[in-house]
């Protein structure tokens, strides 16, 4: 325990030092190395740009739009992934019949569907959500399916010996057993949802951080691109954090070291 506390303290100090060094290098590095501000704008410039965008470009609105799309895409994508994952995991026939199509769809680069969805649904939020759903779906589905099929057959036999019905086997054994891999899939999905949404916004539309990103690029405003990227990271970070917090609640029975830090 003493060692753990020591590790946390030393790790935190090292982390903070690293952050200060990075920010200092960002602020003064470009000037010292004669890098023009339209290539790497220093930190203070990006900081000012943030407030300019907040008042002039309605940054809060665009961040909200992106966050909403990420949330919807992530929630619907994981729900769909989980449902199909449980279906394929419990039914070998369904898995056999559908696996070639699922594999094909998994190999296809999902972001390439963005222009297609915009053709279908116009410059609305829906094509962005749809790309996110598609991209979140796979890691969740694969993790859930593998988890359900990997349940120890002796556990199933134990439940059967107590005369468990098929639905009891699912709810008492298979479903809870699939929780750790399901959350591993959600962690991956939460970061991928941001990728899907941004690609959708970059391809077309006039709202969201992806739109501000390409707008800044068109203006030659590097600081604006920086601010957009930082805000996207913040949105993704919040989504990831939400998954971690939920995971800690649901998987509270797991030994601490098995939880894996970040």
């Amino acid at each position: 325990m003493g060692n753990d506390a020591n590790l946390v303290r030393r790790g935190t100090i090292a982390s903070v030092i690293l952050l200060v060094l990075f920010l200092a290098a960002w602020e003064w590095g470009p000037g010292l190395l004669n890098i023009p501000t339209f290539i790497v704008p220093p930190m203070s410039m990006v900081y000012k740009e943030f407030f300019r965008m907040w008042s002039v470009n309605n940054l809060a609105f665009h961040t909200g739009i992106t966050a909403y799309e990420v949330l919807m895409g992530f929630a619907l994508g994981s729900l769909l992934g989980a449902v199909i994952g449980y279906l394929l995991g419990t039914s070998p026939t369904a898995e056999f019949a559908l696996s070639p199509y699922i594999l094909a769809l998994q190999i296809a680069p999902k972001v390439a569907f963005a222009p297609l969805f915009i053709l279908w649904m116009g410059f609305t939020i829906y094509p962005k959500i749809l790309v996110a759903i598609l991209i979140v779906f796979f890691p969740v589905m694969v993790n859930v399916m593998t988890a359900v099929r990997g349940v120890d057959p002796d556990l199933i036999n134990l439940a059967r010996s107590f005369k468990a019905s098929r639905s009891q086997i699912f709810w008492k054994i298979e479903f809870p057993a699939s929780m750790p891999p399901f959350f591993a899939g959600l962690r991956i999905g939460s970061t991928l949802a941001v990728v899907g949404v941004v690609v959708g916004e970059l391809v077309g539309g006039n709202s969201g951080l992806g739109y501000l990103l390409s707008f800044g690029e068109g203006q030659g405003n590097t600081a604006m691109v920086f601010v957009s990227i930082i805000m996207l990271t913040v949105v993704g970070g919040i989504a990831y954090l939400a998954v971690i917090l939920l995971e800690r609640r649901v998987l509270h029975y797991m030994p601490k070291r098995a939880m894996g830090g970040i």
Binding site: R160, F162, K163, K172
Partner: protein, 256 residues
């Protein structure tokens, strides 16, 4: 009992096995690896149907899993997301028995197995021996008349095993349970049972039956020291064709 193998072949796991276990009797089944001991036990539990023949428990033909029988394996099979008490209550919960009564029963069993204070803990917080006692409590919680035990103690260390053997022997005697115990441990078979059955290599058949004529089946620690034990062990070793060194001593010396 036959199984379909790969490429349409069929292999016979056990053949012409005819065993009967009396009410309240403890019978051990020993034999070489892969001789079909576990298959026999799975048939008894109703998990597999035999291709030829029948199994009967309490005079009823085994058609599938039934409430007379409960089994326990080498693995504790405790569910990591359930507390020890919730694990013990798994069977009663699946059978939809009265929750309050089952909880009381689970608590009584845990107390009897010196696990009372661990009821709210999770399996990973317990030692191997404690987990195996919890698994035994779960098996007993559904109040089966017959216990099928498949190498229940082979995964724990030698000292823990002696304690668990004692716990099992006491429980079987006090609760007047019938048990079929599969084990690789010849001494365990002798000290825990009324009778030992020896199976041959695959396809498994019963090749010997030894009645253990030592008193106090509920006291395996005491039975261990009985002079008759050595005789039973050597008979078992002879039947199982073990104890004849596979290494040629002379050749080994010559090579040194």
């Amino acid at each position: 009992m036959r199984f379909a193998g790969a490429k349409g072949s069929v292999f016979t796991a056990i053949e012409q096995v005819n065993i009967a276990v009396e009410d309240g009797e403890v019978v051990s089944l020993i034999g070489p690896s892969g001789c079909g001991k576990s298959t026999l036990l799975n048939i008894g539990a109703g998990l597999y149907a035999p291709s030829v023949g029948d199994a009967y428990v309490d005079g009823e033909r085994v058609e599938g899993p039934n409430e007379h029988v409960a089994f326990m394996l080498q693995k504790d099979l405790l569910l990591p997301w359930r507390t020890i008490e919730q694990n013990v209550m798994l069977g009663t919960e699946i059978r939809k028995l009265d929750t309050a009564k089952s909880r009381q029963k689970a608590r009584d069993l845990l107390a009897a197995f010196r696990l009372g204070e661990f009821a709210e803990r999770y399996p990973h917080q317990l030692s191997g021996g404690m987990r195996q006692r919890a698994a035994l409590a779960r098996t007993l919680a559904v109040d089966p008349s017959v216990l099928l035990l498949d190498e229940p103690f082979s995964a724990v260390d030698a000292q823990t095993r002696i304690m668990l053997q004692h716990d099992l022997a006491q429980t079987l005697k006090n609760a007047k349970k019938t048990a079929l115990l599969i084990t690789h441990d010849l001494l365990e078979a002798v000290i825990l049972s009324d009778r030992v059955l020896v199976m041959s290599r695959r396809p498994g058949r019963i090749i010997d039956e030894i009645r253990i004529d030592i008193p106090n089946r509920e006291q395996p620690l005491q039975r261990r020291t009985d002079p008759k034990v050595a005789g039973y062990l050597s008979r078992l070793m002879e039947k199982l064709d073990i104890g004849y060194p596979a290494i040629d001593d002379q050749a080994l010396k010559a090579s040194a």
